[in-house]
Amino acid sequence: MIKLYLLRTALIFTVVFSWEILAAGHYIDPFYVSQPSRIFNDLIAFYSSGDLVKHLAITLKAALWGLAIGGFVGVAIGFLLGRIKLLADVLEPIVTALYGIPKLALAPIFILWFGVGIESKIFLSGLLVFYLVFFSTFSGVRSVDPQLIGAVRLLGASRIQILMKVIFPSSVPWILAGVRGGIGASLIGAIVGEYMGASAGIGWMIMYATSFFQTDRVMSCIFLLLLIGLTLNLLLKNAEQYLLRWRPNLDFSTN
């Protein structure tokens, strides 16, 4: 484990260090790709001015609301369609067909509908999350072991009890898999929404900085997005380890 950790750190350090040296010697043009030291300085300036927190808060708010709403609706619709056959037979092909539309391409019309405020970003973000969580939940609900349902029914369970005590817990791993994809999607939704029309946010900042050739700032923003994604995934991983502690640990790594 320690060895892996060291190797990984060494690799990252080598890449960043090479980048720094190559840019300093103008083997690669820092005008286009920036330079680690410049990014670091920019991050400090960005933070000191108070802008970093302001823009980050706006983007995070849009992404997290999108994740929460899209996730909730995805789970709810997934359960309804997963349990009510008629509903699934009618709606599932329609939902799948709509899924075929590249949703990011719809961003301009969402701006038209919901304005340049945070609502349009939440909607886009939520829509992306919804699809991932919905399909995952739907498959999960449909793959519950019928023998477990039968056995618990014979123990005296009502329909509601079967839903709460068998179908829901059995679907949790599937829901979590949907949420894992949803984390990335929620950030994409928020950022792309900001590209299309906004007056603040990390996405807006990237567009703004790019138009003034401030690649240092663009890279700072990308670094921040990397950190957010990393943090959210780490939180999810911890949640998973707790919620799925009943599953055998399928870690076949040899170290």
């Binding site: 618990v152 014979l154 005590k165 059995s170």
Partner: protein, 265 residues
């Protein structure tokens, strides 16, 4: 229909059931079957493979209705669901619940408070030597331990009758012997009515008060044998007694004729 005869828990008469096979033919599973189950008895139902033992058990358990015939029960119907226990050969422990949480499920579904159900459950867990594993998840248990948990899960909520549908299929012989011991011990302590379906005649004789032999399809009760072996029985030692061998021989003649018949079908 309510029974009036004393000491009879469940009585079926003229039961018929047929299924449509995938090729569209009608398969008669049960034909004019009559059976009485006494309170607190250990009844074993033995028959050749595919003779409709499970069908009978599922009808008795109320999983689906017969095509015709009457079933009379002298049991309380609670919450529209009968208070029965059912154990199959499948592993039906909920994988996201610990042993304790699995065993208490029946009580939990009946709204029994946590304190009261823990008291019942802990005692049962101790009786089958699972105390050390009570907070473990099913994936950490052996096949035999899972089966013990499933058995006490069916006992925990005090059902009127427990149906066991070839519960020990797929387990190794040693595990099976021990589980049979457990079943007998628990039966002695609780005196639950048990209906035990198996294709293994030795198992049936070892456990039961009464063995019913079913004919090959369309099934009906071919013969009925009261087992006079003394109790308490040791599931291993009893197989070496003369009484056991004699009983076995007598019933086997009956059964083997049916097995041959069902083979030629």
């Amino acid at each position: 229909m309510v029974l009036t005869v004393d000491n009879i828990l469940l009585s079926v008469s003229d039961l018929n059931k047929s299924f449509k096979s995938s090729s569209g033919d009608t398969v008669e599973a049960l034909k004019n079957l009559n059976l009485e189950i006494k309170r607190q008895e250990f009844l074993a139902i033995v028959g050749p493979s595919g003779c409709g033992k499970s069908t009978l058990l599922n009808i008795l358990a109320g999983l689906y209705p017969p095509d015709s015939g009457t079933i009379a029960r002298d049991m309380a119907d609670g919450n529209g669901l009968r208070n029965i226990g059912h154990i199959s050969q499948a592993d039906t422990l909920l994988p996201w619940r610990t042993v304790v949480q699995n065993v208490e499920l029946g009580l939990e579904l009946r709204g029994v408070s946590k304190g009261r159900r823990r008291a019942v459950v802990e005692k049962l867990i101790e009786q089958v030597d699972l105390s050390q594993f009570k907070n473990n998840y099913p994936f950490e248990l052996s096949g035999g331990m899972k089966k013990r948990a499933i058995i006490i899960r069916a006992l925990a909520y005090d059902p009127d009758i427990i149906f066991m549908d070839e519960p020990f299929v797929g387990l190794d012989v040693q595990t099976r012997d021990l589980l049979e011991e457990d079943i007998l011990k628990l039966w002695h302590e609780t005196r639950k009515t048990i209906v035990f379906v198996t294709h293994d005649l030795a198992e049936a004789i070892t456990l039961a008060d009464r063995v019913i032999i079913m004919s090959s399809r369309p099934s009906t009760v071919k013969s009925e044998h009261t087992i006079h072996l003394p109790r308490p029985r040791s599931t291993v030692d009893i197989k070496f007694t003369e009484d056991f061998t004699e009983t076995y021989k007598k019933i086997w003649d009956d059964l083997s004729a049916e097995v041959k018949k069902s083979r030629s079908k």
